[in-house]
Amino acid sequence: MSAPHAIERELKVEVRGLSKRFRRGNEELLVLDGLDLEIARGEFVCILGPSGCGKSTLLNVLGGFEEADAGSIRIDGEQVTRPDPRRIFVFQDYGIFPWATVRENIALGLLRRPAREREEIVARYVELIGLQGFEDSYPGELSGGMKQRVAVARALAVSPEIVFMDEPLGALDSLTRLAMRRELLRIWQRERMTIALVTHDVDESLQLADRVVVMTSRPGRIAGIVPIDLPHPRDPSASAYNAKKRELFGLLGVRADV
């Protein structure tokens, strides 16, 4: 079941007038142009847009990895200036460390905890992602879906308030991707953290999000925000689903039929 948002939504992330430029030679590229966005606590938001629309840049700024040129980002009323373990970023690839075992990867954020506590937490999240028996495997020995699960477990092990995901399922084949969406929803419904997920896949955003933020490119602006108030699991053949889908394609300015 989707979280029908509480009457009084608690504001978690507040973006105001966010702009970001990149300099390429003596050319200046406006990547993000005055974005406003609010994300509620415990909400699952998907940021949807074509490649190069600045959605990854937006996420990097939200994560504190890049600085904005104008505007502000507040999380719990506090200005974001740097990365913080309360807000974990999940990368599409290269996120987890190939030199470390599954166990060591998940324990990355727990280095200063006592050994016993660390073991307990790792065991809990290994179970959550269903990788029992693979604790001592290296990422090179795992499938793409398993690696992505390790990345999610590593993020959740530090009990973050927000998880940022940059196309986390982009590298997976379409069947694994479906399974991972279900997995992601199950974990989110259990842990109830706030999630901001960047994707260019309309169905992905439709199946996961409470709200979809649609972006257009050059300069990156918000074309519209579409609430997806459908219960989970969401059936892609349902008419309500398809109505939302048409709405998203409309905002993207793309025709859905081929």
């Binding site: 994560g63 990895f65 740097r82 990365p83 913080d84 373990p85 807000r87 974990i88 970023f89 990368f91 690839d93 290269y94 996120g95 460390f97 190939p98 030199w99 470390a100 990355l108 954020g109 280095l111 290296y138 990422p139 090179g140 530090v158």
Partner: protein, 287 residues
């Protein structure tokens, strides 16, 4: 003698051509053996062609070879083994290489990590590393002899120089080419300086560091001969110079060369074993 060598060479050549029809696994055995036999036979024929006779009145005719045949080289190798020089000189050379190489690794790896990580360190160190790197370690021999005299230290210094630069530059570029996501993840999870180094930067760079160690050890072993030729009274390099100077013993020269080659292969084999360590294997396999 020559006829046997001729026939052997011809047979080996035939075997090489005929192996085309064999399966790959058979070729893997036949080709190196046949090529080896061919080379030995050619070596023998060539060495024999340089043979000449000295006829002194009142004495029997003496045959002199300028280049030693494979057989004579083998006899010389046995001589080196039985008089103990082979082991003694190999150990002397290996000791110098070990000390010089380990010293280079002990200084080069931390320096490379630092210069790869910090822009300030890179500005300070890199120009000088790049300027000194193209100077052959052999060019330092006069300076080394002047500074350390005719002692182990001079050779160790030369070997240190030969292996230091590949290690520093290899480590530095390993750190620089590290994907941004690794460092970002580490910052994100709140890792502090030392944790970042121990859990991310060093392990991420390790496969490339091992490769640079392998190159450095190769260079160190190449340089040992020259480093020992100059002055020192022991070692395989010394043996080569000594064998020539003290009686034109080219059979000993070639025997020493073969020993140097064999030990070089052994050293490379040892470093390559490092590539199989669990936490670095990812750097040596393509996904």
């Amino acid at each position: 003698m020559s006829v046997t060598a001729f026939v052997t060479a011809a047979l080996a050549a035939v075997a090489i051509v005929a192996s085309r029809g064999l399966r790959q696994r058979a070729q893997a055995v036949v080709l190196p053996v046949a090529t080896g036999v061919l080379l030995l036979a050619l070596w023998h024929l060539w060495a024999e062609s340089t043979r000449y006779e000295i006829a002194t009145p009142g004495e029997p005719v003496r045959t002199v070879e300028i280049f030693p045949t494979p057989h004579r080289t083998l006899v010389a190798l046995r001589e080196l083994m039985s008089d103990g020089r082979l082991v003694r000189y190999s150990i002397a050379s290996l000791f110098r290489v070990a000390v010089g190489f380990l010293l280079a690794a002990a200084i080069g790896i931390p320096l490379g990590l630092w210069a790869g990580w910090s822009t300030r360190a890179s500005y300070s160190i890199n120009p000088f590393v790049q300027a000194l790197r193209p100077i052959s370690p052999l060019a330092w021999i006069p300076i080394a002899t002047l500074a350390f005299g005719i002692r182990d230290e001079a050779a160790i210094f030369i070997i240190f120089l030969g292996s230091f630069f590949p290690i520093v530059t290899g480590t530095m570029s390993a750190v620089r080419s590290m994907p941004v996501a690794y460092v970002r993840s580490a910052h994100n999870f709140g890792l502090r300086k030392f944790e970042l180094l121990a859990h991310v930067v060093f392990p991420a760079a390790l496969p490339q560091i091992i490769t640079s160690l392998r190159i450095a050890l190769g260079v160190a072993w190449l340089v040992i001969v020259a480093a020992e030729m100059n002055a020192i009274q022991s070692g395989l390099g010394f043996l080569i110079v000594d064998a020539r100077n003290m009686g034109m013993r080219y059979d000993l020269v070639v025997a020493a060369m073969l020993v140097i080659g064999a030990i070089g292969i052994g050293l490379d084999f040892l470093v390559r074993r490092l590539e199989r360590i669990d936490s670095v294997r990812w750097g040596f396999t393509k996904e």
